[in-house]
Symmetry: C4
Subunit: 261 residues, 4 copies
């Protein structure tokens, strides 16, 4: 078995495609954003990625059907005359070992390079360790020109954040991407780090939409964000009052905010 | 050395063979079921599997003879005119790393595909965290048709179980099996998860026997199940009474339920 | 770099050579025995083995000279007309991962098979968890004939020991050796498991010497064993008296028994 | 992807080059020394080394630009008629697994051998577990001649230090270097092991400068060392007085000594 198996589902020609990556991570911000983007564009399935660097696991859906854990690449054709097409990478896991991270990222970059990708946006969360009401979007990029361009879309480039650099797929797609002559930007939505954060995903996606001149409806994501906001506030209130929520049945617990999205 | 070494002991031609997998895991349910099936059919040795992804270990039998840890594949020829032959996979260990799980499963699937296997049954335990008097058999499958077929044999497909999916060989043989155009079913016997569970293995095997129209004598497995039931009840009683079993010598301890089978 | 590098120092032709393995492990029994055997025969250096499955480490000797950690193979020519030559394998470490254990053992077996080895003796300690005054030598073997032969030399084949089998090089050389058509015996000296045990190494080596009809002087090993006995007894006495050894200066501590040999 | 990728930035011919290695480790002594040496010579960039055995990480600089973690090799041409050129190896990480350490070191040695390297100096810290006012430089070497030569430069070869040998790149470059017919010396600066130690790096570098007859200005490194000395003493005083530093604002904390350099 190859270490990383990429099964192409459809053979496509794309116009100057841009790769958008959003895999599970802090607050699941990147994954939420990429999944929502795929759904709204909508993106069509292009390839499924299996790897022995993912956990040896299948998921079982509500009908009892199994599915091997994977990453998946979707594509979207811009309707504009000179538009750029998109590739969107999402999935169940990042590689579970350092070597696995490198191998998977490298194989995917090679695959995307063959499709003509020269530009990458990676989406991620940035843990602040406290509730963030209005998440900023922090950035990192492969060139000063891209830093400047992103600043115009409201992205914050901070001297100190992220201090220790970026660990995982969102950093690696940029770092290894340089070896494939790709340029790119990492967009990091501020998040508490305590639960899945559609509010932060929305902030990240709004920057991406401006940067790539896309047209996305945010209604469903906003609804999800408000639902999480509501639960989070109840938990905070409940904790402030010592755990009881008078006259309203049991208070929601932190479990309702769990990493399920 | 190859990562996975499959030593063929006999060259065989099989008729539309079905693979049955049962390796060590929760409650040793899958292994107990597969070992009992092999014994009762009986299955003949077909191949021995060694791998550097197993522990670097030999077992020593009562006569002092060593044997390298392995998996083993047996075969059985159906006596019926249009019957399907069986391959039964058992063994000492699953691969001890995620990569090892993938490598071993992939090599075995490739080997079985070459023998004509297009259908797989994987046998496993499902830990409920409490004593289960009458274990149900939960299922997961590769297609809606198989889900429906299994429901007719009493298999339960639950919306919530298994919530996090299946980890290990029983899931992987189905998930990776799809890449080899194999269809399959996982049968999971409910079990406490605290000790080896022949009762659960019996429940799983009874479903398998119905699904594959086999004729198996359950006397010995039932006896083993009753023995474990008896010990388990004594332990429960003893614990309820604070540890003493008046007038009957020392109470059996949890050790008597150990993972020895 | 190859995973396992075997540097041949001298090209030799050997007469029906027997491989004796003794690497670090429980009580360092196997290593003590193999090192002493090499010294007394004496064996000449045949090959040095380096591997990325050993720790990334060099030792520094008293003169300040570094040496990469390794295993090493020595050879000895029997002076007898029809005698069998010996290969003795010792070293600093066993492979530090399960895969490494398999890779190193397999490469060494392949190398030894090319030199004509068809028989292996592996030397090890067997931890009893308590001080053993007169260590027995337990055995495991690849065939009933070898079990019987070893019983004649006083080796004990116990139904229950070793219960869980043998883990590590001493088991693997026998288990994997079968794939190279080699037969073999593992000799395990009983030991406490708490400190290095030349007494147990002596017991093991005395069996080996009888089995291979060698002529070895045990004076130096016996002296080492008596020294350790003396310290061990003082520690025991000191502990029995609550730690003080009246009128005799500070009691020796368990540190004096440390894994230094 | 190759396990270790060496990107050559400039093709050079060097005169009998000596390799100097200084990677992160105890007290960051080796890295501080190698980085300072590169800066002062100054060395020019020769090659960048990426590897899947490094963490899957990018660093982000103050301008927001990402850089994949790496090692890097610089070169310096001696201005003297018969001088020897230098190669200096530094970087962000050592390999993070034992196998990775071996693979990276072996590939770099192979690369350097092709450039004509036959001699290696490795720079490291030696943890003493207590503050060392005037760090000695301990040594280890590949030959008695080199031990004698280093003693003349004030290097201490101690019977007992380093007792357990050297673990990591500084040992491995010497140990594996022998397989490439390279001779070498490891210079270890005594250090507490509690914080980064430019004082120890200075001691190591002064020996190297004498051994290689280089001309280096130590002003900046001495300033850095004095700054760390000053902070370390304040922390010690503060701790002695129970944490308060009267009349002088908050005392510096151990954090000011952190592994940042």
């Amino acid at each position: 078995m190859e270490d990383v198996v990429i099964r192409t589902l459809e053979k496509v020609e794309l116009r100057r495609p841009v790769l958008v990556e959003g895999l599970p991570g802090v607050g699941n911000v990147g994954k939420l954003a990429a999944d929502y983007l795929k759904e709204q564009l909508p993106a069509k399935p292009l390839a499924t990625i299996f790897s022995k660097f993912f956990p040896p696991q299948v998921y079982v859906n509500e009908e009892g059907i199994v599915r091997l854990v994977s990453n998946d690449l979707g594509y979207w054709r811009s309707p504009k005359a000179n538009g750029r097409d998109l590739l969107v990478l999402g999935g169940d896991y990042q590689g579970i070992s350092p070597e696995g991270q490198y191998e998977i990222t490298e194989r995917l970059l090679e695959y995307c390079a063959a499709l003509g990708v020269t530009e990458v946006f990676t989406l991620a969360g940035f843990a602040q360790g406290k509730i963030v009401e209005t998440p900023r979007v922090l950035g990192a990029a492969t060139s000063p020109a891209r830093v400047e361009a992103m600043k115009k879309h409201g992205v914050v480039f901070s001297r100190n954040d992220p201090g220790g650099g970026l660990i995982g797929a969102s950093g690696l797609f940029l770092g290894l991407g340089r070896l494939f002559q790709m340029e790119g930007v990492c967009l990091m939505g501020e998040t508490s780090g305590y639960f899945v954060d559609p509010r932060s995903a929305e902030a990240v996606l709004k920057v991406l939409v401006r940067a790539l001149d896309l047209d996305i409806d945010f209604t469903a994501l906003e609804a999800k964000a408000q639902e999480i906001d509501r639960i989070a506030h109840k938990v905070q209130e409940s904790e402030a009052r010592g755990g009881e929520v008078p006259g309203s049945g049991p208070a929601p617990s932190r479990d309702d905010l769990g990493y399920i999205g």
